[in-house]
Homo-oligomer: 362 residues x 2
């Protein structure tokens, strides 16, 4: 899809806010030859992004066709309004991770939103700032575009072209549907992960020694920045609070059932909650946006240079494309487990081939 798309944004793009997302959009557009001008409340941030190749500093003679607002959530609607006024022929979009709140704020102030279309690229990194920017940040990622009744088709097309030009996959959603979706699949999981991690704060040294991959996975995103997340959670509270209330009820059910686990029906309650969890996790799509199931293979390798390369070279010789490879080290041992997926059709013959080649297959 994106690889057959021509560069359509042959006009100027203005990026307001040159942090991670703004600078990454600039890098991606510049690599497509798009003219990008950069603005930020911090002149040194603009200089850094320009030095990194994300575009050139904005000037009074700019005539942008598209403006991308990439500022913190709590000032997004103010900046959108200012940009719509300053550039009366440009289409303005933003990349904030909540879409209904800025739209409602603009409507309440009576701003004409014909030329505003909210959008949200589902991409990010653990670290922020232009210094962490990557031109490939959006490749293959969903980029939600929220048209409203007022949106004319030509304006929508411009924002979708922007998404395509940076390598993303545009998805049209209403602002309400977007906010509910990210509330459920992003914002609530963030709260859950943070609160689980909080319980580890006072853990004994012995307890953390026993931590395995499960708790590591559950708490990985708990390392996220509280400052940014307060803004996101606050702006999307209407979508989040209901899910949190359901979660609280479920947690209360399990806690009550466990407290008196031999009471009639107690174990059934816990089993039902966990079975629903089985069903819920099965809803998440597979790789490449497909629901196709891959076959898992595990190979034991020594933890030294060249072992994994040797394995992958041999997989290449066997013409096997590996999916979703993961190297895990065994704690305290100089060994590694290479876990990867292959299409189910090749699994059995691959296992035989690997054993013939003396790989230790689990």
């Amino acid at each position: 899809m994106s690889d057959t798309h021509p560069v359509r944004l042959n006009a100027q793009v203005r990026i307001v806010g040159t942090g991670l997302l703004g600078a990454s959009i600039g890098l991606a557009l510049r690599s497509q030859g798009v003219d990008v001008v950069l603005a930020d409340s911090s002149p040194s941030s603009v200089r850094l992004a320009a030095d990194l190749g994300a575009g050139r500093p904005a000037s009074a003679t700019d005539v942008p066709q598209v403006i991308v607002v990439c500022v913190p959530p709590d000032v997004t609607s103010d900046v959108i309004e200012a940009e719509l006024r300053a550039y009366p022929s440009a289409v303005v979009t933003d990349v904030a991770s909540v879409k209904l709140a800025p739209l409602n704020q603009l409507r309440e102030r009576g701003v004409d939103i014909t030329r505003y279309i909210g959008s949200h690229p589902l991409a990010g990194r653990e670290r922020g700032g232009a210094i962490s920017a990557r031109g490939d940040l959006f490749i293959g990622r969903p980029w939600v575009v929220c048209r409203v009744e007022e949106t004319p088709p030509w304006a929508l097309a411009l924002v979708e072209d922007l998404a395509l030009d940076v390598g993303a996959v545009p998805i049209e959603m209403t602002p309400q549907a977007h906010d509910q979706a990210v509330g459920l699949v992003s914002h609530v999981p963030q709260i859950v992960s943070s609160l689980m991690a909080k319980q580890l704060e006072g853990a004994s040294d012995d307890a953390v020694r026993l931590a395995g991959q499960g708790v590591r996975d559950v708490t990985r995103i708990a390392a996220s920045s509280p400052e940014l997340w307060i803004q996101i959670l606050g702006a999307n509270k209407d979508s989040i609070v209901g899910v949190l209330e359901n979660l609280q009820k479920d947690l209360q059910n399990v806690t009550d059932a466990l407290r008196d686990v031999d009471a009639p029906g107690a174990r059934t309650i816990i089993a039902e909650e966990m079975s629903a969890g089985n069903a819920g996790v099965a809803r998440l799509p597979g790789k490449h946006g497909q629901n196709r199931r891959f076959a898992q293979i595990v190979v034991l390798v020594d933890d030294r240079p060249g072992q994994l390369a040797q394995l992958l070279t041999e997989l290449g010789e066997l013409n096997i494309n590996v999916e979703d490879l993961r190297l895990e080290h065994a704690e305290g041992a100089q060994m590694g487990m290479v876990e990867f997926s292959v299409i189910p059709e090749v699994r059995d013959s691959l296992l035989k081939d690997l054993e013939k080649r003396n790989w230790r297959v689990a």
Copy 2:
């Protein structure tokens, strides 16, 4: 440690229960030349484990020195008691993931526990049964050994030797400390993951399309078996309920603060909860049991056979040992991101070398 350890278990080991753990222990001990005899309530399960190489079927002439009970949690104490009676000179251990409940049950029945030492190898797989058994399952994993006042040093040494012989790292803990530790770092994260996943059960197709790595990680272990977990959670409820109550209070705090997010202090409450999550996740140790930080490197590769192998071959040429490698596919695009860690000292020169070799480094 384990690689300089001689085979000390030169006597017979009896394994009762030939599921995943029992058969894996058998495979590991057999590879060390230990004489292993197998028993299970299902004769066909014993035959399967024996055919796989985990040992030979038990017979009336066996004289085991160590007995390892690997049966489901709800029958563990019954089987321990029967084995202590049947083999009056053997040391009996078990591998159940909860340690206080079986011990208390044995004490309540007046069983002499001089020859019983509970243990718990922190190892497992998603799939159960002898058919999934692996002789390398315990390599480098912690194996908790719970001595009590009654335990003589020679009996403790036998169980620790068993752990060393299968490649595990023995850790002495009291049953109470063990149960609290696994409650916190294993059992409560399981409940949290399952209940978060439950909320996804009724999600819209659009919502699950927006799911990223965060929610996938938080909910990965929600695919676990409810049947097994009810037994584990029920047996360790005393260690779990308190943590769940704290979690409920934190969830209530955040939900209340979000519901009225503009009230004085509301945002501070959310920030404090999330900051505590930052501190909690930082408690989890790094790889190889060290707290050493590795430098992250991300390389963009085409999603076709041989690309990853080529990268790793070149890393081998550069004498770079990669840690914790992960290949992620970009949704909807035939591209992959290879993320891996290296020791910080080599990071800068490696980035230059990779760019010289025309790799797209993020």
